[in-house]
Symmetry: C2
Subunit: 178 residues, 2 copies
């Protein structure tokens, strides 16, 4: 049993309330877009959505396994969608229990994961874009290839990368400014 | 004219010396690899060297203008080599006058420039890699193309990007931890 003071001063509760009300204004680290905020959840859902659309569009073309870069795009956006889905679930959990991720180890883990998945997605999108432009503009063989699908999948992968970048930079910034 | 004290206490110079000697140990922000240090200069020279080799190897192939991604690689590594050369000169100047870049505006400028050039170089390297793999592995047409040169130019562009990343992350970190 903990010992408690039996006499409560009158102004003690009001002091505690003031301190609790002033707390969120004093520490400015928890801005929108970081893990555990509504903005962060929206970013994760955008990443997941774009990656899944890119995956579906590319995987439904019949000849993607014949080109290494397109197979790599499928692998990269699969990994990206899994990662974003996991972190979206973590964000929903954090929002439900009204907590935010302040643990430096956890934020480092998120930052490194974001860095790896975003680099892979960007590399895959660039490689696919190079080949799509080669087929479409340089060789002019869009009639025998699914150029529009390749373009759409590439564009979606780029959009997914655009949505990962803010998450990564916000996490990295909060890690550095701790 | 500023007024100066005409009487100098005996222990005043020794105090100043102590403070000057303790200063570099207290502020830990100026570690190797940042702008204005020898490590930073070496990084810039690596970036410049790899970018110039990539540019030369790619530009001496006769058929690079027929592929958009290869032309883009030439443009991107040209920009990268110019940027790295300029910052190498700035680093040499800073080393000669024994100063470091502490101005947040200047560090922001370096960070944004590094982010842009490294993203462009990485995108160009990925697009070239996709096309090189397409020509070499998927279509198996290395006999009629300069596969080895394309590969070398791509690899050098990737190495240049590897050398830019530490500069970018150190600048960004020092910006965030200010």
């Amino acid at each position: 049993m903990m010992s408690r003071p039996s006499v409560h001063p009158v102004d003690a509760p009001s002091l505690t309330n003031d301190a609790a009300a002033a707390m969120p204004r004093v520490r400015m680290k928890d801005f929108q877009g970081m893990g555990g905020t509504l903005g962060g959840l929206l970013l994760r859902l955008c990443q997941f959505g774009f990656a899944v659309v890119s995956l579906c569009v590319m995987a439904t073309t019949s000849d993607f396994p014949s080109v290494t870069a397109f197979s790599y795009l499928v692998a990269a956006v699969s990994l990206q969608s899994l990662w974003s889905l996991l972190l979206a679930i973590a964000d929903i959990y954090a929002l439900l229990v009204r907590r935010s991720f302040r643990n430096p180890g956890l934020v480092s883990f998120f930052t490194i994961g974001d860095a790896i998945t975003s680099t892979l997605t960007f590399a895959a999108a660039c490689a696919s874009a190079g080949i799509t432009v080669l087929i479409g503009n340089d060789l002019d063989r869009c009639s025998v290839n699914h150029c529009k699908r390749f373009m759409s999948a590439t564009a979606m992968a780029f959009l997914s990368w655009f949505a990962v970048s803010p998450s990564f930079f916000l996490n990295f910034w909060s890690l550095a400014s701790q």
